[in-house]
Subunit: 339 residues, 6 copies
C-alpha cells in the first residue's frame, strides 16, 4: 500500500511560547504544509508514503527534506531546483487573541514549478492513493496544471484521490478557487472540508438553516455534503466542525458522509497547544482509516481522535501513533500518566 501526497512544504518561523512577533529574539524553525503534514501522519501510522514537491538545492531546502525523512516519509521523489523555499511566520494566539499567519511563499520553487518538472507515470508506480489540498492549485495556474495532470494520471491508474479543499483567502479569491477546483473535483473520490470551505469555494450552503445558531447544525452539514456529492460525484465527503470558544479552547468533531449516510463523531473539548495542521491531521487519520477499511463510523472517530491529539502537539506535524489514536477514539481522554 503506497500513498503519494503533493504540495508545498514551507519553513515555519514562530516566536517561542506566546510571544508576539515584536518580542521574538528567535524563531522556532519547523517545516510544514498541508500535504507534507498528511504525509507525516501516514508515515507515523506505518504507511509507505512519499511526499512530492520541488525544493531549492540549498541547505534550507535540505533541512526540510531531512525533517520529513526523520519521520519516515519517502523523499526520493522530491525535485531539487528553483530559487527559494516558501516561508510562513506564525504568531500563536491565546485566549481572545487570535493566531497570526504572515505568508512569504511567493516565488517558491514549487510555486514556480511546471508540468515538466514531474513525471507522474514514474511517481504513481504501484501507488494506491493520491492526496493533495486546495492550497496547491492556489499557488498559481502552473501548479493547478500540475495538479490536473496528476489527477488525470491517477484516475487512469485507478488510484484513489482525496483532496482537502483548504480554502486560503490570501492565495486566491472564491471565484478563482471555484473555477479551478471545479475542474479538479471531477477526479476526486474523497473530499475533505472544514465548516467554511464548501461555501467559500463552491458557494454551497445549507438551505433553511442558521449556521451561526448556538449549537452546530447537523442537518445543515449533511445537506452541504449531499450537494458536494451530487455536484461532483465524490464517493465520500468529510467535514470537520471546529467551534472556537477562544484561541485556547476549541470544540472539535466531524462528519463523514458516504453512501447517502452521515456519520458524526464524538466531540472533544480541547485545550489548544498548537492548532496549525489540525485539519491536515484529520485528513491523515481519515486516509489511514479508509486504507485500513475501517467502517465509516470508526473512520470518522479515528480521524477526529487523531486530529484532536494534534491540537496538543507543537508544530504542523501530528506526531502520534495508531495506538495513541485508538486509545482516545475508544474513550480514554483522561490524560492519565501511564506508569
Amino acid at each position: 500500500m503506497k500513498v503519494i501526497t503533493f504540495g508545498e512544504i514551507m519553513l515555519r518561523l514562530a516566536p517561542h511560547g506566546y510571544y508576539r512577533f515584536t518580542q521574538a529574539q528567535s524563531f522556532e524553525a519547523t517545516y510544514g504544509g498541508g500535504e507534507a503534514n498528511v504525509a507525516v501522519s501516514l508515515a507515523n501510522y506505518g504507511i509507505d508514503v512519499a511526499f512530492v514537491t520541488k525544493l531549492p538545492s540549498h541547505k534550507i531546502g535540505e533541512c526540510a527534506i531531512q525533517d520529513l525523512r526523520k519521520y519516515g516519509v519517502d523523499t526520493s521523489l522530491i525535485i531539487r531546483g528553483g530559487e527559494r523555499i516558501g516561508i510562513y511566520f506564525l504568531e500563536k494566539g491565546a485566549s481572545q487573541r487570535a493566531s497570526q499567519v504572515i505568508y512569504d511563499r511567493a516565488h517558491s520553487a514549487i510555486a514556480e514549478a511546471t508540468t515538466a518538472d514531474f513525471d507522474w507515470d514514474h511517481i504513481f508506480k504501484d501507488v494506491d492513493w493520491f492526496h493533495f489540498t486546495g492550497i496547491t492549485p492556489a499557488l498559481g495556474s502552473n501548479v493547478a496544471d500540475i495538479c490536473l495532470e496528476a489527477c488525470k494520471k491517477a484516475k487512469e491508474k485507478g488510484i484513489t484521490i482525496s483532496c482537502d479543499l483548504n480554502f486560503r483567502k490570501k492565495l486566491w479569491t472564491s471565484k478563482e478557487a471555484e473555477h479551478t477546483m471545479s475542474q479538479l473535483m471531477e477526479y476526486i473520490d474523497i473530499c475533505i472540508a472544514n465548516e467554511e470551505d464548501a461555501e467559500k469555494v463552491f458557494g454551497i450552503v445549507a438551505q433553511d438553516t442558521d449556521i451561526t445558531a448556538g449549537s452546530l447544525n447537523h442537518n445543515g452539514y449533511i445537506q452541504v455534503a449531499k450537494q458536494i456529492v451530487e455536484r461532483f460525484g465524490c464517493k465520500a465527503v468529510a467535514i470537520t466542525l471546529r467551534e472556537s470558544i477562544s484561541a485556547t479552547q476549541n470544540d472539535w468533531s466531524a462528519m463523514l458522509y458516504t453512501d447517502n449516510q452521515a456519520y458524526f463523531s464524538k466531540k472533544y473539548a480541547m485545550h489548544i497547544v498548537d492548532r496549525v495542521g489540525g485539519g491536515d491531521s484529520f485528513g491523515g487519520g481519515l486516509i489511514y482509516a479508509m486504507l485500513q477499511k475501517y467502517s465509516p463510523q470508526d473512520s470518522i472517530e479515528f480521524a477526529v481522535a487523531a486530529s484532536c491529539l494534534k491540537h496538543s502537539i507543537e508544530g504542523d506535524y501530528n506526531r502520534v501513533s495508531v495506538e495513541e489514536v485508538e486509545t482516545l477514539a475508544h474513550g480514554d481522554g483522561s490524560g492519565r500518566v501511564q506508569r
Copy 2:
C-alpha cells in the same frame, strides 16, 4: 495630539514559564511600570506620547529607554542621573498558586528625584493629556511633590489629567495614600480604579451592598463612582472589575461612569498568559478612546477589549494595535487563525 505620562519604569525580572524563584537559572528581563505601560499602549495606537521619568546614566538605564523607544515612545524628556533603576521580581502564578511580586525599587533615580529635576513648562509644551498613577506619589513625598507641581501646571495649561489610583500596600498605608491622593484628586479629570482601590485609598465603599456576593454588584460600583465624583469633582470614573477564579482563569469587565450615567462593558472569560499590566492597558485604551471622542459605551468597550488582550501577552506592555482591539470589541473573541 500629544500625551505625557510620568512615573517609574522598572527592570522586571521573571523566571521563565511557571518556574518558582528557587528554580530560576535565568530571569526574563523586560521593563515596565504603570505609566510607562500606558505610554507604550498609546504609542502602539499611533498616539504621540512621551514618557517622563529619571533613570541612571548607566547601561541598564539605557536599556529601559531603548525598549520604550522601540515601541515608538518619545524618550527625549527622560532625565538621566541618580543611582539605580527600580527592579521588581515577578514569579508567575498558575491555577491556585498566586503570582508573587518582590519589589526592589527603593532608592531608584525617580524615587529620589526632586522637583528641580523636571521643568513642566517645557514638558507640557503642546500637550493635551497628562497621565500618572497612584504609584508615583507613593514613591515618596518628594515624588508626590513633583506630581502636585505637574498637576498644577497641567491644570493651568488646560491639559486633561487622568490618574489610576493603583493602590500598593507595599509602598504606603491607606492613611498616607488618602492624605496625598486627596490633594492630587482636585486636579484629576479622569479617575481610574480597580474594584478595591476606592476603598483602600479613600475608604469609599458601596452602602448596603455585599461586595463578596456571588455575582458582581453593579449597583455597588455605581455608588462608588458617584461618591468619587461627588467628593473630588472628576468628570469621569472608570472601574475595572476583575473576578479571579484562579491565577489561570479570570473574568474581566469594567464600568465607566460619566455625566451621572454608568456604562458597563461586556465581560470576558480570560485564560491568562500574563496579567501584570492589565490595569495599565485598560488605562491606555480608555485614554485613546477618549482622545478619539468615542462614546462612553464605545470607550469602555475599547478599554476592556484592549486590556483583555493584554492578559494574553507576555510582559507589562500591551502590544496590540487599534485594529486588533476593535476586532475584539466588536465581537470576535474566537481566536481563529487569520490566513
Copy 3:
C-alpha cells in the same frame, strides 16, 4: 522532631514544554522519586528530614545530592556506590494526550543495594517518623528486605511509620505487590493510597458501589479505608481522589479515615502545570500536619491544599511554604497577585 524517608531518587529527563520525545533537542534535568519528594516537601516546611538511599559515586549521583541539599534535606546518610542512578523520561501530556513515562531504572545503585548497606540503628537515631512508598520494595526482593528490616527497627524504636502504596504496574504485578506489601503493612501506622492502589495491591474494593459512576462515591472510599484498617491495623488511612478530565484539567480532593471516622477535604479544580509528584506532595503535607498534631480535618485540608499547589509547579518537588499551603487551605485560591 526528625523524619527519615527511604527510597530511590532518579534523574528525570523531560522535553521542554509540551514537546513530544521525538521533538526534544534537549531534556530538562531534574531529580525526584516518591520518598525524595516527600523529604523536600518536609524540608520546605522547616522539618528536619534526611533522605536515605544509595547513589553512585560519580558526578550525576552528586548532582542528585546537591539538589536535595539545596532544599535543605539532610543528605549525610546517603550511601555512595553501585553502578548507576535510575533515570526516567517524562513527556508531559496536554489536553487529551496523556503524559508518558519511560523508566530506565533497572540496575540502579539502590535497586541493587543489600541490607548490609544500611545501618538502621544509626539512621534512626533520634528519629520520630519513617516514611517510604510501595515503589521501594517493588525495586526487588533485596530492597523489600531492606524495607522490612527498616520497619522492624523503626517499630522497635517506637517510630511512626507511614507508607504510600504507590502501585507501579511497570515494576511488579498485583500478586507480587500483595505478597510483599502485606508483610510490610503490619508495621505501618499511616497508610496512604490513591483511588486505585487498594484494589491493585490488596484487591480491596468497595462493595455494592459503582466506582465509575459520575460523581465520586464517598461511601465507597470509606469502605475501602475501613477494610485496610481492619485487615492491617493501621491508625489512619488517607486516600487521594483524582478526577482526570484531561491531562490539563483535574479535580483533586482526598479523604482521611481515622478512629472510625472519615474526613473529606475540599475539592480543587486544577489547571495542571506538572502533575508528577502530586501524590508525594500529599504525603508530605499529611506527615507535616500530623507531626504538628493538626486535627484530622485540618490535616486532610493541609495535605490536599499542599498537593493542589504542587500541580502548578514544574518538577517532582513541591516547592511551597507552610504559609502558602495555609493560605490556600483557608480559602484563597483566587491566584491574585500579591503586591
Copy 4:
C-alpha cells in the same frame, strides 16, 4: 549634522552558537544590512541619522523598523509597501569551517522599488552626509537608478557622499558591477573597499606586487587607492585589510589614503564572535571620525578600533559607544574587567 544611509535591511536568521543549519531547531532573528548597520553605528555615536529603505507593511517589516528605532535610528523616512522583506540565513563558522550565507532577498520591497518611491529632495533636507554601498545598486537596475538619482541630488545639495564597494558575487558579475559602479563613482567623495573589492569591481590591482605573499603588501594597497582616486576623483579611499587565519582568528587593520598620503592603522589579532557587519562598522567609524574632523591617522585608527570591537559582538550591528572605541584606539585592548 545629519546623515542619511540608503539600502536594504534584511531579517537575519542564524542557528544558535556554532550549530549547522541542519541542527537548528530555532533561528536567532536579528536585522541587518550594509547601510542599516552603518546607521546603527552612527546612532550609537550620537549622530542624527536616518535610514531610508522600503519595507512591507506587515509585522515583520515593523519588527525591522522597531529594531532600528531601538538604537535611535530615525525611521520616519522608510517607505512601507511591497511584498516581502529580504532574508538571509547565516551559519556561523568556526576554526577551519567557514561561515555560510544563504540569501533569500529577491523580490524584497526595496529590490522592487522604483525611483517614484523616494523623494530625495525631502529626504536630503538639512543633510550633511549620504552613505550607501555597492550592494544597493546590485539589487537591480531599478535600484541602481534610485542610487543614481540620490547621488545626483546629493551632489547638487553639496552633501558628502560615501560608498562602500562591497562586491557581492551572488548579486551580480564583476562586469555588471563595473558598469554600474563606474557611473556612481563620479559622485562619490569617500570610497571604502576591502582587500578584494577594487579588483572585483574595477579590475584594479597593484602592479608588480604579490598580494598573496606572507605579509600584507602596504605598497600594493597604496597603489590601488591611488588608481581609484585617479580614475574617479574621490577625496579619500579607505581599504580594510583582513587576514583570515581561520573562522575564529583574524587579523584586522586598514589604510586611509587621502591627499596623496597613506595612513595605516594598528593591526588587531581578533578572536571572532561574529564577523558579519565588520566592514560596515568600519564605514560607520570612518564617517563618524570624518564628521568630527579627526586627522586622517586618528580617523583610520577610530574606524579600525570600532570595527575590531564589532567582531566581538553578536549580530550585524556594532553596539559600541564612542568612548569604548576611543579606549581601544588609544591602546587598551587588554579586555580587563572594569569594576
Copy 5:
C-alpha cells in the same frame, strides 16, 4: 556501493556550552557512537550505508533511529528489543579543564544482544564494506562473538573490513582487548588507530623513539604501522595524531601506511567546538576516500580534513559534505564567509 557499520548508538546528554554537570538544568540530547558516527559521515557523502545495532522498542530508541534516518542512514536493519539504550553524559572541557565522560551503557540492548539477533547473510547482501570499532567487542564477550561471526561472514563474501581500535579503558583492560582484538584482526583489511591505541591494545610501541618528545615522531608512527601490518596482515593502517595543547586548542594530522609506504597529511591547528567523534569522522572520511579509489595521499588528506571540520561541529556526527571537505583538503582553511 553499500557499507554496513555495526555497533552501539547511545543517547548523549551534555550540559549546554561549558557548564559543568552540577550547573546543568538541562542536557542537550543527541545520539552517537563510534560506528553510528561513521555511518552518518558516509551518508552525508552520499554513500548508501546502513547502521546495524539493537535498540529497545520504546520511544527513546525510536528517537535514535529517527536521528540516523534524518541524515539518510538506512535504519531498516536495526533490531528492536532489549531493555535500554546506552547513555553517556558529556561535560565539555575548555582551556586547561578536560572534558568528562560518564558512561551509563551497561545492560543496553546491544550489550546484551546475542549472535541469534543478527542474520549476517541477510545484512551483508550486496555489501562492499563492513566497519566496526574496538568498542563493540568490548561491550561483552557476547558482542565480541557477534563481531567475530560478522567478520567471518564478511570475509567469506569478499567484503572489505575496517576497524578502528578505539581502546576504552572504562570498558576493558589491555589484556582483554588484546585477547579479543587479536582474533578479530585476522579479518581486518584496514586498521585505524590513534596515537595510543596500538600500545594499549597490542603493546606495539615504536622502538628507540621517544614518543613524548616535543614534536611528533614520524618515524615512530611508521614503525608502529609496520608492526601492525606484519603481525596481522592488514592492507593499510591509518593513525591519527592528536597534539592536545589544551581542551580548546589541538593540532591534528594523520598518517596512512600502505604498500610499505607512509603518507603523512597536513597538520591543522584547531580551535575546538566539540571533539567527540573526531576519530570517527576520520574513519568516515578514510572509508569514503578508499571507496572512491583516491590515492593514498589524497585519502589521508581527505580523512584528516573531514575530521578537522568535525572538531568545529556540535555533537558526535560529522555534518559536512564532500565539497566542504575537498575545499579544506585543497587548501582553504581561512574560514572566510561565502557570499
Copy 6:
C-alpha cells in the same frame, strides 16, 4: 577544621554568551561575591566552611542561601533581615572588548548591617581560619567596624586570618582604603593581592623596576611582598599575576612570599570562559593548601592551578575538586577527554 568567610553575596545578572546588555532579553542569574566564592571553593574541597553575611528575608535572599547550601557551604550563621540583596550586572567581554560590571549593591542588607548583627563569639566557635576581602570593609564604615570586631575576636581565639586586598575603585578611594585596611592589616596573617592592589591600597610599588616592561618583573613582586610583610608583619603574602592579552586570552601565574622566600608558580596560557571569581578561587586554593600544610611551592601551584581552572567555568564559583586541581598542578593541562 572549620573555616569562616565573611562578606557580601550578590545576585549576578549576566546576558547569555557574549551579548551586550542592550541585546539581553534575559539574564543568567547566579550568586557570588569575594568571600562566598572562597567558601564554595573550600566546600568543594571537602572543608567544613560557613559563610557569614546578612540577607533579606525574601525569596531572592533565600535563593542565594540555597545556592550556597547546594555546594555544601554551611549557611546556618547567615542573618536574615534588611531591605535588599546586592546585585551586579555583568557583561562578558570577548577579544578586545572588556567585560563590564555595573554594581547595584548600595543599601544591601550587609551594607547596612551593624556590629550588633553578628555574635563573633558564637560564629568563631571551634573555628581555625577566618577569611574576608577588602571589599567587605569598603561597603561602609559600619561594615569596616564589623570586620575589625571580627578580626579582634579571631586573633583573640588564635584563629588564622587571611585577607584578599581586592581593591574596588567603585567602592572607595585609595585614601579611604589605606586608612581602613591599615588598621585591619595588623590582624592579618595571610595577605592576598593582585598585581595592582598593593599600589592602589598602600602605595607600595617596587623600586627601580619597570612594571610595564614586556615580561613580568619577578624581582619587583618580591619587593612588594617584602614591603607588605615589613610594614604589617604578615606571615605570608601571595600575589596573583594576570597578563591580559585580551578578554579571551590571559596568562596566569602567582607568587607566594613567606619566611623571606619567594615561590613562583608555573604560568598558564588560558582561553577564558568566565574570569570573574578568578582571584577568589586563588584564595580558596591557597587556604586549602595551607590548611593541608602543603609546602610553599606546592601551595602556590595548587592555588594557581585551582584558579586557572576557574577561568574555564561559568559563574563566580570555582566548581572543581581537589583531584582536578592536583591533576593540573602536577602537569596535565592537555584537556584530553577521560573515557
